[in-house]
Subunit: 221 residues, 2 copies
């Protein structure tokens, strides 16, 4: 439930005209995805949003603030919905499956957003200092909590390293989404969801052969 998130994030809701703020943000996402951050100009974004450059500066103080506001809005909504749905899912394995699917869906349904996050934001050190990045971190904690839950309730192996498993899951998704942003493939990101879950869950090695069972039955004479 939203009340549980204890989340002070205001984002574009705090602006005098939130709808216009959202239009500008969507236009910026689109221009950054097409041109990259350094090549994109505020003039490009103004044209795309059908507002004046001066209007953009009423809402965002710089090109970089615009860039950093893109994931803030999206991740905030994504995170709220995750918490809402997680309450209704039983078992850590099922919750993990849900989070993997949701994460892939976020990028699959928003290719411009995927592009901005994977090709521009991931290498930006300044982003790490922002309020927006704190929302990303909060969302990362969901995965860790689910992994810890699964270790505690015996669904996952007791010696599992939650930090590493999260790196495996997020790394795999980021790798596939980056390739899609750069090469346009894999085309069907969501089609990988089950395969990712099954491969990580079951490991890739053939199971060891069942040991031979010797049954010694002593006959009474």
């Amino acid at each position: 439930m939203p009340s549980k998130t204890n989340n002070s994030f205001k984002g574009i809701k705090a602006q005098k005209n939130p709808a216009k703020g959202a239009v500008i943000l969507k236009a910026a996402e689109n221009i950054f995805a097409q041109k990259g951050f350094h090549e994109a100009t505020i003039s490009d974004i103004a044209k795309n949003a059908e507002v004046s450059e001066a209007t953009i500066y009423e809402y965002f103080s710089s090109k970089e603030e615009l860039l950093f506001s893109i994931p803030a809005e999206t991740i905030h909504q994504y995170q709220e919905k995750n918490l809402e749905i997680l309450e209704y899912i039983q078992g850590a394995a099922n919750k993990l499956r849900f989070l993997i699917y949701r994460h892939l869906k976020l990028y699959a349904s928003n290719p411009d957003y995927a592009n901005v996050v994977m090709l521009i934001l991931k290498g930006n050190r300044n982003f790490l200092k922002t309020e927006a990045y704190k929302i990303v971190q909060r969302s990362a904690r969901n995965t860790t909590q689910v992994l810890e839950e699964g270790i505690q309730n015996g669904e996952f192996k007791p010696n599992l390293n939650p930090y590493l498993v999260r790196a495996i899951i997020w790394g795999t998704i980021e790798h596939l989404v980056t390739r899609k942003s750069l090469f346009g493939k894999p085309h069907d990101l969501l089609g990988f969801a089950d395969d990712i879950v099954n491969t990580i869950f079951s490991g890739i090695l053939m199971p060891q052969k069942e040991p031979t069972i010797n049954v010694n039955v002593r006959m009474k004479s």
Copy 2:
């Protein structure tokens, strides 16, 4: 063996003074890692390499060509050595373990290189058009071949998707190395090698309980 690689890459060996080319490349790697690509200047690199700016342009036509030459040299040497060693390793699982370890070691021993690759090159579309990128692709094929070998010889599960398993392995490594470049941790990248291998190989779910075995022994009366 090098003769097997059928590799026409010349790199800085083709330059009139390869040692000087290598010094310039190392200086560029260092400056790009510190400042990022857009903020770094040829003047910074010239100072760091202790040569004139004119000398740099004798060896590399632009700042971008310098950037793209960094992975070309490193990955070429890395790939040659991989092929040399792979010949002596038996079994696909062992070969995969070696490739994971080598990949981590490449980044762990070269933090500037890791920084340039993860924070600058990964989002650069122009890099995909270069000769250097072809060497990266050749190196990626090693992993796929090892995975296919393991599926064929029964070490790996027959329904495994080599493309996805490669994405899991590379994605995990890239995720950890990116975090190390951005946050300075995890500190000990190589310490993750065994854990990555074991977690991916064995899956994360608890194995199903052994089925109860009913042994019916008929006693001769």
